[in-house]
Amino acid sequence: MIAVQSPASVPDPRTIPSNAPEHCPGTESELAGKSDACAGCENQETCASGATKLPDPSLPFIKKRMSSVKRKILVLSGKGGVGKSTFTAQLGWAFAADDSTQTGIMDVDICGPSIPTILGIASEQVHSSSSGWSPVYVQDNMAVMSVGFMLPSSRDADVDWGDLDYLLVDTPPGTSDEHLSIVQYLKESGIDGAVLITTPQEVALQDVRREIDFCRKVGIRVIGLVENMSGFVCPNCKNESQIFKPSTGGGKQLAKETGVEFLGAVPLDPRIGMSADYGVSFLDEYPDSPATTAYLDIIDKIKDILHD
């Protein structure tokens, strides 16, 4: 494989140079190098030449790397703290439960990477090999790459994933720079779809609407919506109550309104958070929890939708 590609030779994917003026239209914009704000900017000539609007030169390279990955799934949520990373990790574990399925997890949350903690590999380091960075292996068939392993910067292109059946990409909340970059990089090699995670209350749902809008804007298929933290079973009296009340009908209603598949609702079990803190698989530890059943049903549905 291409072994000598040095990261420094690849231009920064963010379309705004650090020395750009305040109203920089973005180097990919039609106005690049031509707007009023560009006057006096060091990059004006380069931008005006149109070179910046050409596809990123690292795209074919990424495409090649990603050609050995069969399914690429994004895990998105509008709001933070709804359980994206926990869900990603459980989904990873569930795929990897089948020994013959190779699974990869990529954590692109630059500001708050939690995947290493949840998977219990926070102290691991990434090794550099001749064919790129080797991901960290949680078990034989589950590879993980996170910015947490190599702060402050990471480049997904250089990870040597090998043959994978599934690559799950855990993203930061919102619709931001990281999302644009990942979509831009992975679109070329094909994203199979996005799973959206929400909690039942309207504040979170509002953000999911924005996320669906984002997916439609950039042309990513929405596999479906998962409602997390949906109800709480008291360990004492076993009665279920709603912590985050679905004041506007919750995820199910939203899925109906927006024509998105509703994958299921996962109740809140304090043991889920505990498993995440200790880095163990919730599905293996507590097979009798209603949350485990819900997770497994959702994972089956995702597989069905992807025809696997």
Partner: protein
Amino acid sequence: MSLQETAVTRRLRHVKHIIIVLAGKGGVGKSSVSTQLAMNLVASSPTAKVGILDVDLTGPSIPRMFGVDGKGVHQSSDGWVPVYADGPSAKLACMSVGFLLKNKGDSVVWRGPKKNAMIRQFLSDVRWGTLDYLVIDTPPGTSDEHLSLMEHLAGVHSRLSAVIVTTPQAVALMDAMKCLSFTRAVNLPVLGLIENMSGYACPCCGEVSNVFSTGGGAEMARKEGLRFLGSLPVDTELVSLLDGGQEGELGLLSRYDKTPSAKLFKEILNGILESMQDS
């Protein structure tokens, strides 16, 4: 220095204190804490005037929490008029990118410089007027928005302080530490740490479960020499109140007063006010 007199400093000349609410992780209740902080500050004195600025550009929740969802911002000759959550008494001014979106499903997909420009406008073009406190609700992490804020507020740095919100579990505490190192890097005084979602009382039997474990916040505050402002349990009444989005002029404040959180937050507010006097 020419930095001293900018559009931002001119606009914020009559703002006495600026409190930035930070959290490393998303969904720990930053916006709900900001909302409660603003409401408590309004209630702290009969003449108090408070502003709340939501700089979470890609996921604004402040409009919904104050029940002013769907309101618009008006342009006046003297700048944008904020939305007053308390109606005509005009003691609680809100500004959010949510007010500028036509449709609640619209997404804001912006990169750094555009966010930077928006934040500058929020600070310099909004008719904040005279305020005792301006509470700034930030997006999770320490990102473009935070750097922009610090840059634009450089001229009023002496009036800035921060409150950090976390939940008790390890994943969130790790992110809260990053927040803390950010405040140290930019020399921002931290008034204290709030532990949110610390336990949940079953409405049926009253048994308190530690949904996201407990005590992590107090422990972190002790280790880092921060003031621990208090812990707030998950309060379903508060969730419904803030999520309901009901319109009601004086409704919100008086209804908030009846929630269990309101009582706990009074203590937290006292801690914040004390820290402010010390600094």
